[in-house]
């Protein structure tokens, strides 16, 4: 076997080390594996490739993707296209961040620990809540964890979801809750596309541990969080607000200040590459009263023996390595580097940047919505206020539009029919407009959609 570039030991060293441990050959290292289980032939995998050929091979595979120009994409629905300042990738590429482990030994992990402490603070400031953990996997499974957290705090065996929740989130919640003895029910929305708080009140006439709404909702509509919080409060139910687009927090009132008890969601929009769906990060913030029920890692401030300020993983008696099956969650590895990415993105944009960028997104989406409303055969079915995403009703099935506009180099949006079987929504397209879409492409989108009729 020839030496490999990732393996430092020379053949002579290997021989020498084998002798040192008293073995005749490398094969003897595996003597504890029963002979009949030992693999005889070679693995059926490709390679080895020299680095130059490896880069060429992977570039060829990436090249098989036929991605439209990013400026001509209008896709959202759970993953958002934003410009990340160069400092973000530069800093997360520091090996001290990306090639370190979970910070079990605080004395030599203060970089990670302090960055997480700062991340937790940033998430609290944006959401208006007291607590944040160090990150979860992604938005949808974070929602499942949030529902379980609310159920532990106040068991009822029932959760009520808005019917304008991202359908993948609902699917994931169903998978996670399937054997937990929690019934999942839903409540409806009004004509304007926003949640119907009277329907929520009715749904809460029977006890539920949590009421879940997405804000902006799956159709891009803003929710009346204060009204829903009043409904939840009256029923003694935890209000969970889900956000799939974190940048909305740069524009919208912090849900925590409007009465939400838990705010959670997808943090990808804060500088994390689209990367075909992952890795992303779930954020999870809550009121102080949920402290002992939080899942996942949490970093806290501490003092060292000389009285200096430092940071440690804390409250670990909630976690699986101590509590095993009684833990608040099974999560161990989270999305540390993605949380760092989000934190650096937030720090780089800063207070003014994040608020201005959010307003910029809203203004572009408002312009696009106006243009699409005027396009021939198109209409805007929901009147509720929006952030950077909205539904447009087309003269043809939305899937048809996606195919036709793809030929013009446009990824015009996400057809709702991909998720919702309702025939009334066959012609509905979810369109997302951000700072990366120049006016010219928005106009072209409107023109092309107007030609479908």
């Amino acid at each position: 076997m020839a030496a490999h570039r990732y393996l430092p030991l020379s053949d002579a060293e290997r021989e020498d080390m084998l002798r040192a441990i008293g073995l005749a050959s490398a094969g003897d290292l595996f003597a504890s594996i029963p002979e009949r289980l030992r693999l005889r032939g070679a693995l059926d995998v490709p390679g080895p490739l020299a680095e130059m050929d490896l880069v060429a091979e992977m570039a060829a595979r990436a090249g098989e993707n036929l991605l439209p120009d990013p400026r001509a994409q209008f896709l959202g629905a759970g993953a958002y296209r934003h410009f990340a300042p160069s400092v973000v990738d530069h800093l997360i590429s520091r090996t001290e961040f990306y090639s370190s482990y979970t910070p079990y030994q605080p004395e030599i992990s203060q970089g990670t620990l302090q960055a997480v402490f700062e991340y937790q603070t940033l998430i609290c400031q944006l959401t208006g809540l007291d607590l944040s953990n160090a990150s979860m996997y992604e938005g949808a499974s974070t929602l499942a964890e949030g529902i379980l957290m609310a159920e532990r705090a106040s068991p009822s065996g029932r959760v009520v979801l808005s019917d304008r929740l991202h359908p993948e989130y609902v699917q994931v919640v169903r998978t996670h809750l399937a054997n937990m003895g929690i019934a999942i029910e839903s409540f409806g929305h009004g004509k304007d596309g926003a949640a119907d708080s009277a329907a929520a009140r009715q749904a809460l006439e029977r006890k539920a541990s949590s009421l879940v709404v997405q804000h902006p909702n799956f159709f891009g509509c803003l929710e009346e969080i204060e009204a829903l919080a009043a409904v939840a409060r009256q029923a003694g139910t935890t209000l969970i607000v889900v956000m799939t687009e974190p940048l909305a927090l740069g524009l919208l009132k912090p849900p925590g200040e409007q009465g939400a008890d838990i705010v959670l969601g997808e943090g990808q929009g804060f500088g994390v590459p689209l990367s075909y769906g992952g890795p992303y990060l779930g954020f999870l913030a809550a009121r102080q009263s949920f402290l002992r029920q939080m899942p996942g890692r949490i970093v806290g401030e501490a003092r060292d023996v000389d009285g200096r300020r430092g940071y440690v993983l804390t409250l670990s008696t909630r976690e699986q390595h101590i509590r095993r099956e009684k833990a608040t969650s099974n999560i161990c590895t989270n999305e540390g580097l993605c949380a760092l990415t989000a934190a650096i993105f937030m720090a780089a944009l800063g207070k003014s940047g994040i608020m201005e960028l959010a307003r910029h997104n809203r203004a572009k989406a408002a312009y696009a919505r106006q243009r699409l409303a005027e396009a021939r055969g198109c209409s805007i079915p929901y009147a509720a206020p929006f952030f950077n995403e909205f539904v447009v009703r087309l003269p043809v099935p939305a899937e048809t539009a996606v195919q036709r506009l793809a030929e013009r180099g446009l990824a015009c949006g996400v057809p709702l029919s991909r998720y919702l079987p309702d025939p009334a929504q066959q012609r509905d397209l979810l369109v997302c407009v951000t700072e990366v879409n120049p006016r010219g492409e928005i106009d072209r989108l409107a023109d092309e959609l107007g030609r479908l009729a």
Partner: protein, 492 residues
Amino acid sequence: MDARSLRAPESLLFEVSRRGRRGFDVPPLDVPQESGQALDARYTRQDIDGFPELSEVDVVRHYTRLSRLNYAIDLGLYPLGSCTMKYNPKVNERVARLPGFADAHPQLAESMVQGCLRLMHSLERALCAICGMDRFTLQPAAGAQGEQTGILMVRAYHQERGDARRVVLIPDSAHGTNPASAHLAGYRVEQVASNERGCVDLGALRRRVGPDVAVLMLTNPNTLGVFEGEIEEVARALHDKGALLYMDGANLNAFVGQARPGDMGVDVHHLNLHKTFSTPHGGGGPGSGPVGVKRSLEPFLPVPTVEREGERLRFQHDRPKSVGKIRSFHGNFGMFVRAYAFILAHGPEGLKRMSETAVLNANYLRKRLEGTYHLPYDSPSLHEVVFSDKNLEETGVRTLDVAKRLMDYGFHPPTIYFPLIVRGALMIEPTETESRQELDAFVEAMLAIDAEARRDPELVQKAPHTTPIRRLDETAAARTPVLRWRGDAAGS
């Protein structure tokens, strides 16, 4: 001057912040400002209280300084047992950032992302070949979510046969994620004792397995680094009673190319791309926890699966027996790219040499340390070895002290106090990417600490002495938790 020293504490972002600084310019708006339809003020915020205001330079210096307070695999040996901290090849970072991959939106039409689907398909096939399984799902975000997915599939399998069963058996040496994941699938957890070799007690298992047992979750090699030599008998004992065998593949690095779970009677197992296949740990993630299954469990795989249809690849969502979706979109795709690049860089012979070298390095450390440190189980080691602090008993020096003192010698400590079946455990996994010099330097440090413990125990008990910060009071931190910055008393 403190702020410029390499060891100085770094202020928090919020303390560096000064009103009016900015680090980012939003481009000029190229559409008309809103007039009539502007968003009602009752929806909008006017401020983000306490949010930092920094220049680009401030941000870069802050995070660069923070980074220097971290240990990392590129600085040296990182021998955390069961964590498989191996070198992260730089080319993997390069290819994961290819715009064709990094800029691919998960909602793009399948026809536009054939490259992504092909990569997922190729990785699934490679993992099937390496593990001897029939199918893999790449969806789970990390090992624990892989476990949860696997046990949900086990449940669906039993349910289809009329009874989900009630109990999941887990050895006392297992990771805490195993019982936590089994609980999330609605099962009651029962512990199985280990025998004197540190392996599953086959007799006790046979007596326990009955119609109420759904599955045994077995880590192989186990957390002592010992191969479960009776795994086929274990599988038979389970299968005879209709139960299944789940393998926790966290330690797969021990036998890639030497043996395959699928040949051992394993029905379902997860592995960690961020361990065996070297995707970076990122200071606590992201990971990726693919789950492999035998044909009998294939119908229950999460949706969607990737299927070939002639020359094209497509997602198959219509799988009526599926456990559903365990997370949004298609998994941690960026980790798939890195892991597949890692497999391609090695090829079949390289992967074999990888596990062989990992086991050689662990056994070399074992040989050099076993005269000095106590070896609680003398079963043959594969990729890691577990010592304890028993030989240091009369010195008063404990495992924690040895770990902290290692930092003064420039090493990250091993995993400590795990597995739970070893009192004062020091669990050492060097991996294959260490040189002889690095291993020898680690041995010298361990031997020096043993000598110090006998000569001057306080030196070891008060370690570390040279790190940016010294031992932190974790008890006080948990008693009065401060989990976010709140500004000074004046509320700045």
